[in-house]
Symmetry: C4
């Protein structure tokens, strides 16, 4: 059951954490997420860099996705080296030392009923 | 009319079955789905493995997509070897012995009006 | 301004025309769409085949996307060789004699407020 | 922190600016967006061409994405050589002199609660 699939270099050109929410937390809190799947049998050491419109990129945010696990990382919860600002356009690059798969998802609950988006992120050549 | 298109190895890094629903079943029941298209003229024998954040992967879930057919598989309905838990982050890897195309879709009807997401899954090299 | 980009063979594994709608037509009529872009300087002759869960595939549906044009084709409006049934899972394969780009979009207005999905379709090798 | 990822040639086959909106601007104004990420250490000079169903393509729209920056470009705000019409199907091709990543996003607030879509755009060979 240790299927390796994925790439080591990924990008999400769209990023945005809505500034407010409607409904019970944590499920209905507005969030922007990078879903990381490590289907290999080695731990993945992952670095996320966050890019902005009008300031220098911030990062790396470092985390580990254990072998055979998935981690749905909310940009809302990234704190080190700096929190990701709300109501601000950003983008991100994700690098890993073993192949992973990255999917971008947002839940936006600013209005009475939620909206959702998802896409597989853009995979680099490696 | 037997066009072969697709890959044998796919991944969906995002998976989540909302824990409650609004509106008439089966259409409006919240669901997370892997849509499988087998445009070839041979039956596809498909294995799905489900990955979690904090426990071992579960699978394989086995199913057949006949030649020239599509099957929209709700993760809600997978039972063997174990049901997929609700309100829990997961991810999945899909393997087939003939090329297929995989697309991920969720309908979330937890609030009064539904939300939908879709993306073509990530295709491996084979 | 004649940029050629795309492939000649595409697939959409998810297809579904919601059976009812809310709001003014044509904008708010529930629809499932294949958006076709022909950025080349030759007309594209396109064939769409529709696949089902429990019956033989239907097609080809034939149409032309002129050079340097886009055509957003609602599956709702396909009539020849047969209309696409509502409230029924399907999938599709799109073939063209010149490279095109295909994107799948649905507007679902069954409940009071609309839901939308989109994804670039799966591109074959040619 | 200067990771280069991306391609120089992209396409979005779906484009549509909803003709009306609900809620406070600028966040809740209906918009169709090309999110551009330039993770390289050179400025990207970008040309966007917009394609229609029944008229000649319009462009190029020219803009710069500085090195290490992201720019979320609303089609609503493109003015030169001509504004993009509302309530009209279009598509677009994006070309850059350095590799970038392109993601398509729409916010549709025509009804009381917003709907969102996103997908990574289609990447050409270069």
């Amino acid at each position: 059951m240790s299927q390796t699939i994925g790439k080591k270099h990924w990008a999400i050109a769209e990023g945005y954490i809505p500034a407010w929410s409607h409904g019970p937390e944590p499920q209905m809190e507005s969030h922007d997420t990078a879903c990381l799947l490590n289907a290999s049998d080695e731990d993945a050491h992952v670095s996320i860099t966050v890019f902005f419109d009008d300031q220098e990129a911030v990062g790396p945010y470092s985390l580990t996705v254990p072998a055979g696990r998935t981690r749905h990382v909310r940009f809302n919860s990234l704190e080190d080296p700096a929190p990701v600002p709300r109501d601000t356009d950003f983008a991100s690059v994700i690098e890993s030392d073993v192949p992973i798969v990255v999917q971008h998802t947002r839940l936006d609950s600013r209005q009475a009923d939620l909206a959702l988006i998802t896409t597989i992120a853009f995979a680099g050549d490696v």
